[in-house]
Symmetry: C2
Subunit: 413 residues, 2 copies
Amino acid sequence: MERIHATYWLETGDDPARTAEIIAGEQSSGTFVTLPTETPELKARAGARIERLEILDHSGTSSLPTPQPSARYTRAILELSWPLANLGPCLPTLMATIAGNLFELRAVTGLRLLDLQLPPAFAHAYPGPAFGIAGTRRLSGVKTGPLIGTIIKPSVGLSVQETAEQVRLLVEGGVDFIKDDELQANGPACPFEERVRAVMSVVNDAADRSGRKVMVAFNLTGNLDQMRHRHDLVLAQGGTCVMACLNSVGLVGMHALRTHAQLPIHAHRAGWGYLSRSPQLGFDFAPWQKIWRLAGADHLHVNGLRNKFSESDESVMAAARSVLAPVMGSTPLPAMPVFSSGQTGLQAHDTYAGLGCADLIHTAGGGIFGHPGGVAAGVQALRDAWQAAMAGESLHEAANNSPALKQAMGFWQ
Amino acid sequence: MERIHATYWLETGDDPARTAEIIAGEQSSGTFVTLPTETPELKARAGARIERLEILDHSGTSSLPTPQPSARYTRAILELSWPLANLGPCLPTLMATIAGNLFELRAVTGLRLLDLQLPPAFAHAYPGPAFGIAGTRRLSGVKTGPLIGTIIKPSVGLSVQETAEQVRLLVEGGVDFIKDDELQANGPACPFEERVRAVMSVVNDAADRSGRKVMVAFNLTGNLDQMRHRHDLVLAQGGTCVMACLNSVGLVGMHALRTHAQLPIHAHRAGWGYLSRSPQLGFDFAPWQKIWRLAGADHLHVNGLRNKFSESDESVMAAARSVLAPVMGSTPLPAMPVFSSGQTGLQAHDTYAGLGCADLIHTAGGGIFGHPGGVAAGVQALRDAWQAAMAGESLHEAANNSPALKQAMGFWQ
C-alpha cells in the first residue's frame, strides 16, 4: 500500500521512543487516552508508523519551552509514515497530517520537518508547474545561462508612470527578467491594472524592436477572483509571467490560480522566516517547496549566497538544489530557483559551482543599478560574470575582455 | 490618511532604533542600500512609520541564531504603521507586509507579532463570519450556555458506517455539536460524500424526532472545487456546519470558501504550533485570528484550560478572549471560540470566569465517553457543570442535585 513518509529533527525530554509513539498517535488514529474503538486492526490499518528513530545527541536545556521539563533532552531523527488511504492525495490534508498539531505536544521541545517523500498519487492529483525551466526559457528567449533579473525598487511608493520609467531603463539595459516587490500588488497608489498596462506598453514596444520580450512577474496576490482577473489582464496585455506570495495566498489559492493560469507562476516566499528562523521548529525548505511545486509554482525564491538576511550559504544552496531536484522519481516537475538579496556577479561562480547548472533567475538591484556605466553596463557585467563561471574562467580573467565587468569589479563587494 | 498598525516583540543585537528603521524600510519603500529614487517625498508618503519603540530588557544571548552576533541583545516593543495606500484593504498583501521578509533580517534575533489594528476599509472589503455566535445558536438550537460538543475518534481509521454509529451514540446522548478530526477529510478509507450521507441520515432522523438538529462540522478541507462541492453536499443533506483547516487552506482559499458558503465555517488551526511555539518568533493568536475572522471564520479553535498540549492557561484564555473581542471598534464580527484538548466539566468554572460569558463550543472526548453512565450521562454532567458555573454555584454543590455530575466527579481529573 502506498505510504507518505516524513522525516523530522526531534527534541524531547521524555523517552524518545515514547514521544515518537505520541506523535504518531496524535497524527493518526490515536489520542491522549486509550480508546476501545482504536482496535489493533484499526491501528494497523490507519496508524502512522515509526520507520526510523535515530538518536543524535543530548542537551541539558530544551530548545522550546515546555510545561513538562526534564533534566535531559534527547535529539533524534524521526521518520514517520502514513497510509495514503487516511487522506488520499490531498495537499491541504497532507499539511494537517505532517505539520498539524504535533508541534504543540508537551513532550516535544523541538520539531522540524526535514524531508518528505510522497507516493505517485500526488503527482496524478496535482498539476505541478506548467512552464518550469523549459517554458520560462522559451517565453523569455534566454536559451542558456541564468535569466538576469531585477526587482522594481523602491518596493512601494512609485507611481504607475515612475514604475514604467524604471522598467524602460531596465529593458533598454538588456535585462531578461523584472519583478514586482512582494509589497506591491494593487495598492491605490499604484493600481495593478494601470501598472500592467503602462509596463507592458514599454515591454511590448521594446520586444517589437528587438524580437525578444522581457519577462515581467506582476504580483497579482489578492483574493481569488482578483488574481484570476489580474492574470487575464496580464495575458491580454502580452505579459509572460505572474507572481504570487505563497504564504499570503495559501495552498488552495495557489492551486486554484494554477488551474486558471496560462502563464508561469513566480512564487515568492515572503514570511519564510516565521516558518524557518528557529532551527528547532518548523520547516526545512526542501520538503516545503515540494508541496508548492505540486500545486504549480514555476519559480521559487531561495535567497542568495552571501545574502543580506540571516540565512547561511549552506542553507541557500540546499534550498536551490531542492528546487532543481525531482519532486519524486517518476515525476520531476522541475522549477527554477530565484536568487536574490545583495547579489552581484561576485556570486556567479559559487552559485554555478554549487548547483552544477545555470537554470536559475539571478536578480540584482544595486549590483546592476550601481554600475558607473549605467544599467546596460550593469546587466552586461553580471552576464559576463556568469559566462565566465560557465566557461570555467575566473572573474579576473574575464574582466580583461569585458570592460563592463572590469568596471563592475570596482563597486561589487 | 488611514493606516495599518502592527505591534511586535523585538529582539536585536544592534541599536534598537536602527533595527526598527531597517524593519520599517524593508517592509515599505526602503531596501538594504540607499536609493536615489527613494526621495524624501516618497518615503513620507509610502514609508512605514515607527510609532513606538519601548525598551523592555536585555540579554547576553540571542533567542534566534544570527550571523551578526553581539555582546548584548535588547528586547523592545515596536509598533509600526503603514499607509493603507501602499496595499489597499487586501488581506494577502497585508500578510506580506506585516509578516513578510522581516523575520529573516540579520539584525533581528527575535520577532513576534503581538497586535494588529486595521482601518475600517478591511471590514468593507471582507465579509467576516456569516453566522458567528447568533447564527450558530440559531442553527444548533442552543439558546444559552456553551454548545457541548465532541470530536469523532479515532481521528482516522473508522469506516463510514462506524462513524455514523458513533454519531448515533452521541446524538442519542444529547450532544449539541460534533466535529470531524482535522486528519479526516476525504480519505479513500472514509470518503467525504458517503460519510456525510450516513451521518446526516442519523442526525436528520434524530432531529425529526426531537425537533433539534445536532450541528456537525464536516471537514471539507481540500482543493477549492472540492470544498465547494462538499459544502453543497452538506447543505443538500441538511447539514448545518462545515470545517476547514486554516493553515492547510490558506487565506485565499478560506475567503473563496466563505464567498460560496451558506453554512457556518468551523476553523481549525492545525499547525498553529509552528507559527507560535517559539515565544520569540511568529504570532500571538490575537492578531492572527483577526485576519481569519475578516476572511470569514465563524468558530475558531483556542485549545482549552489545563490542556494536553504545551500552551499555558494564560495563553488559552487570551486567545479565547480575542475571538470574542471586536475585530475593530466599528465592526465587531464576533466569532465563537472552541475549547478542546483534555476537557471535562472541571474546566467549566474557570473558563466561564475567564471569559465572562458562555458563547463558546466546549468539546470533550474522554470527559464524555468515560462516564460510567454512558454518553448521555457524560453530556448531562458537562452541561450541569456549565449550568453551575453560570449560576455561580460550585461543582460540589451542583453535584448534589445531579447524579450524572456526581458520578463524573469520580473520573474527571
